[in-house]
Amino acid sequence: MSEIKELSTPAEAAVERWEQETLAPVLRQRPERREKFETVSLDSVERLYTPADIADIDFARDTTFPGEFPYTRGIHPTGYRGKLWTMRQFAGYGTPEETNARFKYLLEHGQNGLSVAYDLPTLMGYDADSLLSEGEVGKCGVAVSSLADMEVLFDGIPLEQVTVSQTINAPASVLLAMYLVVAEKQGANFNKISGTLQNDILKEYIAQKEWIYPIRPAMKLVVDTFEFCTKHVPKYNPISVSGYHIREAGATALQELAFTLRDGIEYVQWGMDAGLDVDEFVPRISFFFNAHNDFFEEIAKYRAARRIWAHAMRERFNAKNPHTLQLRFHTQTAGVSLTVQQPLNNIVRVAIQALAGVLGGTQSLHTDSYDEALALPTDQAALIALRTQQIIAEETGVVNTIDPLGGSYFIEALTKKMEDGALDYFNKIDSLGGMVAAVEKGFPQREIQDSAYQYQKAVERGAQTIVGVNKYVMEDEQGKIDILKIDEAARERQVTRLQQTKARRDNGAVANALEKLKRAAVDNENTMPATIEAVRAYATLGEICDALRDVYGLYEEPAF
């Protein structure tokens, strides 16, 4: 036998001594509650983390200081001492009038940024009067079919001062055009307009499934917005690369991290292939992550995300601008973790998830409302969600020091594990030919479906506890909670405005603008100028998307 036993380091020797002298006698008397402890992403969580677990982490290389490469501890040298995160609650339902009122309510109560939720017809590029829109208008968000709706939505909200995030993907370039035209009508200067367009089409094919066109032309539309915004709306974030939906669809924290960042790399690659300068457009790329239940793993995920991105931008793309290297992100608590059963428990879940986002250094945060497993939130539920953020920010003291968990043996070791796991996924995706190719082959989709199924099985055999659902169940739940009802008349009102808009506009101008847009698409030119012209002429969302459908065709999902 020639096996060579490696000598323990002093750190390891210290742990061995503790295990033998102090731990072992206790374990003999009373074993632990479980044989194995694990997280959603990691097979095992150790009993104790010590200096031995972070021996391969070099503080000067991997951790460093806030505001310095690779930004593990945050992108700002002052953390939340300089500026708190933006409290940005996602809202939208019914008609533009109703959502405009909710926006004003949130702003009056101390929220400092807006975030628009659009309804499904809008997300899919259909007008309110389309047959396919029946039953869906205003249900999951606000209905917007043309510039006329957008004008109402932002009435009395100065777009030069309030930053607005728009959750819109397949038809994102059209909604961006509507937003810019409304801003222009308000007299806003494009150089001052800030805000974010979700515009992350890759995660639609991977997880959220609200697509219109095939992947490659859809990616081209995304690149058009990069190019346009870099030139004309320099402070605007034309994309929010989103792990949120990937997680909601069932991915683990590690898969969320890996697929999202690899999506980000794909967008950078496509932008560069279109001739954009990495240090000009990438600083405006932002990210969007989920905050789920496994507290420390989530914090490690955010810290790892910053480190991976900084390295990827420098090493893959030779980026030099510090803003290119700095990953900025929005966080939303996990809608999928909310339960119908004992819904007030959701307030607690949301608070803990939100705290993870804050300890991970998020730039902005949405906290879910406790009634969201039942319906869209009521005013009261939305207010508690906002108050949750205010309590974290102003009562708990967690904002007083930067990256307060940095240096924790556990957090640093987890951060490294997340980073290593994500890089393994990168290798796999690179070997498939990049993310677009991987999606076409169904790779991330299958990984996520498998995780979702495993999770469901873990819940059903009780390995994963959900309080109120598979443990501490109350058979006769009393307590009725009020829920928001969407007026079924929203569709009629929207259809009426659509008809009025069509009657008032210059139909010749609309037809010309749509023709121009098609030509731009066929000739592979940037579609943004023609889209803006069409929007200005009050061409509807459905008409504009139809023009592009004619040119690009429709996406078809691979068989299940």
Partner: protein, 134 residues
Amino acid sequence: MPEQKIRVLVAKPGLDGHDRGAKIIARALRDAGMEVIYTGLRQTPEMIAAAALQEDVDAVGVSILSGAHNTLCPRIVGLLRERGMNDCLVLVGGIVPKEDIARLKEQGVAEVFLPGTSTEDIINFLRANVRPRT
């Protein structure tokens, strides 16, 4: 004689793309020995009823999270009955407010399963309620 397998169509009507639940159910029913056909996303009630007839299923599981259930579910039931599928059960899963559940049942929906339901409960419901073929 082997027992005949229960045949289920898992359907996603409406514009909503949230298919995590539908796919988990499809897989769980398949693992429980049933024949499962998944329609894919964005099927109209007409398409769903036609598929149910063509596949001669015992039950249609409708997954819907967008709030459009009051419009879409009764129409699916109506179209199935028009096609003579009187014994075909229609189950609904998704985000459905309590007060809508009673109405959906009056309109012919056999059961509504809310978030947090175990796949076991759905399997048991199907086994108990699908009418044996004659």
